[in-house]
Symmetry: C2
Subunit: 342 residues, 2 copies
């Protein structure tokens, strides 16, 4: 398909373009030590590569820039895994050195560090509730008319929701309901809470007074009818650093998307195992058509429970991004495993 020389030319162009964001000319390629051909020869290859769709020009006499197909080929066939610097490795590892006590902190910090290291935007989708189990329920009355329900999971996740308490309901009723719920539900995976309530708890509750049922309704609404996606976004403004977003309009529209959890979360919810690279128009969302999104999943045992992603321009340091995500998700998965088997 591609001759060896053509492949070399393609690789050089992509590597250089990733670094400089400028179209690359034949003369400059020929000057490189690892290229032993004349500009003319390289021009011929470049013309072929363009015919095949791997390269394109910004205008008829410009140097070449990689097309999305070019990046795709690079990513699939010719990317050499980047040796991360020891500093970088250490920084990522340090997130997991200590015994992990609170997953949310870990993820927030991770997002921060990865966007520092890459200068891209990091998106972390928190552990899906899959394996996490209810550790404890708690009701704290605040005043006569309101109370706060607190739910703690075995990953250290704390969810709280406040709710109004009608005057006819006594706090002691609430307390009793919570006791029942705790008794029945502690240790139950969060995703089964609903089902368990249906089968195990409802009957029990129904034996009591109507006030009791109302109390239960309240708590139920406050805590269970609520799908929790925890999305951490870090380094949004890194986008502004990339020359492809010098056009402020593009930056604006991308910002709008990134600020809406609703739009981001579905993108990250992938079933693909391991890394997935979406280049330019491979992204469904239009504003991301000049972006690349690399997502990596992390697992607990066999189950994928969350996603981490880097969002940057299509001209992305793929090797570095991939290596970092790989490193991170491995560590994360290991730490999770340890956490749950302690």
């Amino acid at each position: 398909m591609l001759t060896e020389r053509q492949a070399l030319v393609l690789k050089v162009i992509i590597d250089e373009f990733i670094e400089t964001a400028q179209p690359i000319g034949s003369r400059n390629i020929a000057k490189r030590e690892d290229v032993a051909y004349s500009p003319a020869t390289i021009r011929n290859d470049m013309a072929d590569l363009e015919d095949e769709g791997f390269l394109s020009k910004t205008h008829s006499s410009s140097g070449r820039i990689p097309s999305e197909k070019g990046y795709r080929f690079y990513v699939d066939h010719m990317m050499s895994p980047l040796q991360l610097s020891s500093d970088e490795v250490r920084l990522v590892q340090s997130q997991f050195d200590d015994r992990m006590i609170e997953m949310e902190k870990v993820m927030q910090n991770s997002a921060h560090i990865l966007s520092e290291l890459t200068q891209y935007t990091t998106l972390v989708l928190g552990p899906e509730v899959y394996e996490t189990k209810l550790k404890q329920l708690q009701i704290v009355p605040i005043n006569k008319q309101s109370a706060i329900a607190i739910l703690v999971t075995d990953t250290g996740h704390v969810e709280h929701r406040s709710f109004a308490v009608p005057s006819e309901i006594d706090h002691s009723d609430l307390e009793k309901v919570v006791n029942i719920l705790n008794e029945k539900l502690v240790g139950v995976p969060i995703i089964y809470l609903d089902r368990m309530i249906e089968t195990e708890v409802i009957d029990l509750i129904n034996r009591y007074t109507s006030n009791f049922q109302k109390s239960y309704d309240l708590i139920q609404k406050a805590l269970f009818n609520h799908q929790t996606t925890s999305l951490y976004v870090s380094g949004k403004s890194n986008i502004l650093m990339q020359p492809e977003f010098n056009d402020i309009e593009k930056a604006r529209s991308l910002f709008n998307v990134m600020e809406s959890e609703d739009q981001i979360a579905p993108i990250l919810k992938t079933n693909q195992e391991g890394l997935k690279i979406s280049i330019g128009h491979e992204n469904e969302m239009e504003v991301m058509n000049n972006c690349t999104l690399i997502t990596a999943t992390y697992t607990l045992g066999e189950n994928q429970i969350g996603t981490i992603a880097l969002l940057g321009p299509t001209r992305m340091e793929y090797a570095k991004a991939v290596s970092l995500l790989d490193l991170w998700s491995n560590h994360m998965s290991q730490s999770l495993y340890r956490w749950f088997n302690d």
Copy 2:
């Protein structure tokens, strides 16, 4: 000091410039219905106003733009309070219509709504702990090595912190300590917690075993040694909409500041009662030299307990911003009062 006509000219220029962001020329001012003078007359006044420092030019033959001194005069002496639209009023009020159950939610939503209405960035500094009192402490063991301490205040604020539990300490010890703490500390204002612990609790704790003391140390570290500033920022990317930030460098540096809580929080911690308007170089921070920050405090009874602020370009819709902040902070203060006297 200023003749009536000069004042009119100044006001017109500022009003127009706030709307258009373009230098205003004498001819355009003369065309307005509320101005009955010829361009030449107005030019003379403009020259005077420039001599006095209220206006400046972008180049020698350009129209005039307001200087910071101009804005300052406008704000201090000639700003007519804007009649907010009923939609706007309703939107703000709706934040407080329902019985307030969780202050944090209210503030988050408020920040969101104010930045929607103004197209500026809203910063809310959460209620200082002043009057808030401890409602309940809770320890939830997560696994053998870790636990989560949860602190609930009477404002519905939930603070949680995880900590590692050394192997020699038993969870039952922790529980006992928490019981003691709850017994002694519930109802105590958060800011006095430290003092109360010193005087009332320490002695009690010391009577027990050393493990007991260690447990106490843990909890103490996890919950009390932690100053909590709750900062909500909304509409950061609105900054990008303002033409004065078309220069991407300026946007970048402002973003960097806004993303650092450490830098923003001190700015909002003002002692000034009511509204404070900081125009351009009146802001200490250099990146804000072409911004205006309007801060308003909200109170609980006599005490200021938090701040809300709008950050925009110096060319700000002052009247609207002031009216909105005023409206909001009044409602907020009233709601707080009701909350604590229920």
